[in-house]
């Protein structure tokens, strides 16, 4: 049976047909041959009886007339018939009047078959060696008078030959039928196998992902073609891959409004479209296969669309999570990590996929893990969110804003915790700077107030000292002392002026001014002095001569401060580059002052704009120069900052053959445009100062 199951369909079909035909032949041939033999024998006996009776009837007249010629002709006529071996006529005494034998009469025949007077025919089987002969005897009578006997011999051997011929013909017919059936079966099986093979190929193609196969016949008419339908809103309109009975919701008036495809299809059996277009079971299967493939393709396309959408959303969510600088993580109720973002993974030094399933104790040191674990436990128990700030020693002291929120499911139960650690170290720094700025502002206000109050007495002291110098003889001790008083009073006045400038309580007179002229005035003022210290100034000014709105004197003070700072940074001399550039698109004009001095340390550069901060020896600087400059630039809505060393992009022209440091670069940006209220605000501020002066 396993061997049979492995055979091909065509072979099975041919074997089945052959088995049926051979069985039929084996069963029927003996039966039919037996029946045929019996029928033929019976027919032969009947025919022989009929022949001999006919001969008997016709023999009456020639017997009465003793017409031997007619008798001879009659018997000879009988032998002319195929299987009649002999015929002869006897008179009522048994004498043979006419016979068909040549070369004498076989005497054994005379008494071989006797027929009674009143019997019509008597049949006797004779055996002449292997030859079998049916001998028919019929009495020739008229009324009750017997005139003689007619005998006739039929060859049973020939009858048997006829039977055998019949059997041979039947066997031949069976063989022919077997051959024909085998050929027809092969053709049929080939057709069926080809169609099944096509289905298999399409199934394999489906397995490989190709769902655009067409198993059913592509040709043939469709309902909308047969009916010349123009109902384009019908789902079957224009459909070529599916028959209309596979489509739900067709709008044909002949379609019954049945619910369900099975019920509607049963109603289709009476439809002419179905009757014309429907095929056999294999076509039905192929068309169902196509419908299944089409449906599957639709579902897969939908799934792929959903999957793509899901992936897009995942990617978007992952991007949001990964781009955010916050450390985001999700743990379940067992405090095992279910997910985290890239920032978190990087902070703990793991890959994203390595985090899933781990606990705090697997990721953090024991102390940190214990703290996080306890905090999480508390949230799980309380159900309240944690919102706190904490400092972590992580490449220095870093501050984090920690938010830990319990995640609830649809039933309100806590399924996990979402924790966000936001790095607020910079904010903390800004906060510190703000406090510092507030302190400096308070200090400035106090210093300004003090300077303002001191300025008048200093003026009086200076005035009286100068007046007294006029009253005493020059060169006298008193005159010299008065000169010291005057000098120190001027120093104090300078300090007071700086303090006032720092606290922006000095008078500001802004106007349209040429930026380059302001710079060149400053450079001209200091160039000679600087050259004495072996410091060269290279001015690279924008030749478009930008015009700004500002206080030329104060800005000149800023440039001089910056140049002086640069010179002080190069005690052995060097080069100072002062460069201006108009940036029209940004609406600013920039100035850079760079030196090739020893530079400023990273810690120092943060404090250089603080008042009274100076790295110079005592007596060389007040620590107010840069802070005053900062105040002036800020008063002009600009900004100033420094960086050290000088970036390479600045392309500093270092002097050849001389030693130089990393240098420092100051950059000042001033807006070209100014607000409409700027003069008013300046005037108001001036008025305030005037009031204070008053």
């Amino acid at each position: 049976m396993r061997l049979f199951s492995k055979l091909k369909f065509r072979t099975k079909l041919n074997l089945g047909i052959s088995a049926i035909l051979i069985s039929m032949a084996v069963l029927l041939l003996p039966l039919v041959s037996n029946m045929t033999a019996k029928i033929l024998l019976e027919e032969s006996r009947k025919r022989g009886s009929a022949l001999v009776e006919s001969l008997s009837a016709r023999a009456v007249d020639p017997l009465l007339a003793r017409d031997f010629l007619r008798l001879k002709n009659m018997v000879v006529e009988q032998v002319a018939v195929g299987d009649v071996l002999y015929a002869f006529v006897q008179d009522n005494h048994g004498f043979v009047l006419a016979h068909t034998f040549e070369g004498g009469f076989p005497v054994d025949l005379m008494r071989a078959n006797e027929v009674p007077d009143f019997a019509s025919v008597h049949i006797q089987l004779l055996a002449d060696g292997p030859t079998r002969i049916y001998d028919f005897a019929s009495a020739v009578t008229v009324g009750d008078e017997r005139l003689g006997t007619v005998r006739l011999g039929l060859s049973k051997t020939r009858i048997n030959a006829s039977v055998n011929r019949q059997i041979t013909i039947m066997a031949g017919l069976f063989a022919g039928a077997l051959m024909l059936a085998t050929i027809m079966g092969s053709l049929f099986a080939s057709r069926v196998a080809a169609r099944l093979g096509l289905l298999r190929e399409h199934a394999e193609a489906m397995l490989m992902g190709n769902l655009d196969t067409q198993s059913g016949p592509a040709d043939g008419s469709h309902c909308w073609e047969m009916r010349n339908c123009d109902l384009s809103s019908c789902p079957a309109f224009g459909e070529r891959r599916r028959r209309c009975w596979y489509i739900a919701g067709t709008m044909c008036p002949d379609c019954k409004d049945e619910k369900g495809l099975t019920a509607s299809r049963e109603s289709c059996h009476l439809c002419k479209v179905y009757q014309q277009a429907a095929g056999d079971e294999l076509q039905d299967l192929a068309e169902t296969f196509d419908v299944m493939a089409l449906s599957l393709k639709t579902h897969i396309d939908e799934l792929r669309g959903a999957d793509r959408n899901l992936r897009e959303q995942q990617r978007l969510m992952r991007t949001i999570l990964d781009v955010t600088p916050d450390r985001v993580s999700l743990v379940d109720t067992r405090l095992r990590y279910q997910g985290a973002n890239r920032t978190f993974a990087e902070s703990v030094g793991l890959k994203l996929h390595q985090i899933v399933g781990k606990t705090d104790f697997d990721i953090f040191d024991e102390q940190t893990a214990e703290a996080r674990h306890m905090a999480a436990r508390e949230i799980l128990q309380s159900g309240e969110r944690l919102d706190t700030q904490m400092v972590v020693e992580e490449a220095g002291e870093r501050w984090f804003h920690v938010v830990c929120i319990p995640v609830h499911d649809e039933d309100g139960r806590i399924t996990g915790l979402l924790r966000t650690d936001r790095d607020i170290t910079d904010i903390k720094g800004y906060e510190k700077q703000l406090i510092q700025a507030q302190k400096m502002e308070s200090l400035g206000l106090m210093a300004g107030g003090v300077a303002h109050e001191i300025n008048t007495p200093l003026g009086i002291i200076l005035g009286y000292a100068q007046l007294l110098q006029e009253d005493v003889a020059p060169g006298s001790q008193i005159h010299q002392d008065l000169g010291v008083i005057e000098k120190q009073a001027k120093v104090c006045k300078k300090i007071v002026a700086d303090l006032l400038g720092f606290s922006r309580q000095t008078h500001s007179s802004k106007r349209e001014m040429c930026f380059n002229n302001s710079v060149m005035e400053a450079v001209t003022l200091v160039r000679h002095t600087f050259e004495l210290d072996h410091v060269d100034i290279i001015a690279q000014l924008d030749d478009r001569f930008p015009i700004i709105y500002g206080d030329p004197e104060k800005l000149k003070q800023v440039w001089i401060n910056l140049l002086t700072n640069s010179r002080d940074a190069m005690p052995g001399g060097g080069v100072i580059v002062i460069r201006t550039r108009l940036d029209t698109p940004r609406g600013i004009v920039s100035l850079w002052v760079a030196d090739c001095g020893e530079g400023i340390g990273e810690d120092v550069i943060k404090k250089i704009f603080d008042p009274f901060y100076s790295t110079k020896p005592v007596g060389r600087g007040t620590g107010l120069g840069l802070s005053v400059s900062f105040g002036i630039i800020e008063d002009h809505d600009g900004d100033i900052h420094a960086q050290s060393p000088v970036p390479e992009a600045f392309v500093f022209p270092y002097p050849e053959g001389r030693q130089h440091g990393p240098g420092t670069l100051f950059e000042v940006n001033l807006p070209l445009d100014h607000g409409e209220d700027e003069p008013a605000r300046a005037e108001r501020r001036d008025a305030d100062h005037a009031g204070q002066d008053i």
Binding site: S23, V26, L27, P30, L31, S33, N34, A37, K38, V60, D61, L64, A65, H93, F95, V96, F101, G103, G104, F105, P106, V107, D108, L109, A112, N113, Q124, L125, L126, A127, D128, R132, I133, V142, G143, E145, N160
Partner: protein
Amino acid sequence: MMTRAAKCLATLFLAAVMLMLPGCGDSEPALEVDLTRRERLVAPERQKTITYAYLPQYSRTVSFQRHRALLEYLRVTTGLPLHQVFPDTFDEHIKMVQRGEIDISFSNPFVYIQLAELGSTAFAKIVEPTGTPDFSGQIICRSDNPTIRTIEDCRGKRLIAVDPGSAGGFLFPLGLFYDHGIRLDDFAEVEFAQGKQEKVVLAVLAGAYDIGTIRKGTLDVVAGIIDLSDIRVLAETRNYPGWVYSARQGFDPADVGVIAEAMFSLDQANPEHSGILGAAGMSGIIPAHDADYDPIRELAVKVGIR
């Protein structure tokens, strides 16, 4: 491992084959003969017999059946070896008489007058079943023939008669036609049935001929063959002397006397004789003389045959 169904099928198949096998044999008993053992047959010599012939107005079989019992009676009664012979036609009958091949001739009166001219002598005549020694002829046509109502309507029609030598079947009706002024030439066609009365009836019935002439009593003979209502008897002739037994010239008169005596002894009242007479279509046999047949001779002259 065969399943139960497969075993059942195999058993049925074998049983069917076993049942069929006996039919393949040839067990019919046969009688052994040797067809090669042959001899030349010689016909036994026949003894001298007195030939008796019935004018062939009917087929040989009918003739044989009619006279078989009478001949057997005569053979037994007279002890003479009487043997019936069967001439094919009236002419052959006459010629056989003339050649001496027929000793005792049973013929119609018209043939008799011809035999008498050859030397035959009448010695007996039969009594018709009607009870008289005379008989007549009939003119017949189909019952559904509307064109023939009288003898005169026969003019121009197609005629079939028994034989030119037939008395009742031709001569008597011809005399009747002559009496009505109709000659043979007046018929569209005249055909003869070679002496067979039945053929005339059947030819008219088939429509091959419009009218036919037969001996009276023929319709009774064919009553079992055809529906008599399909045949209409148009006319019937007068009675003429009936059938006659005659002995050829030169036949032993003593034998004639013995035979005649035996014939005259037949008695209708005797059941045995009645059967013999009935089979022969007669009710008795009485003595006859040549002069009894002069009316026939007159009729023959009238119609121009003699």
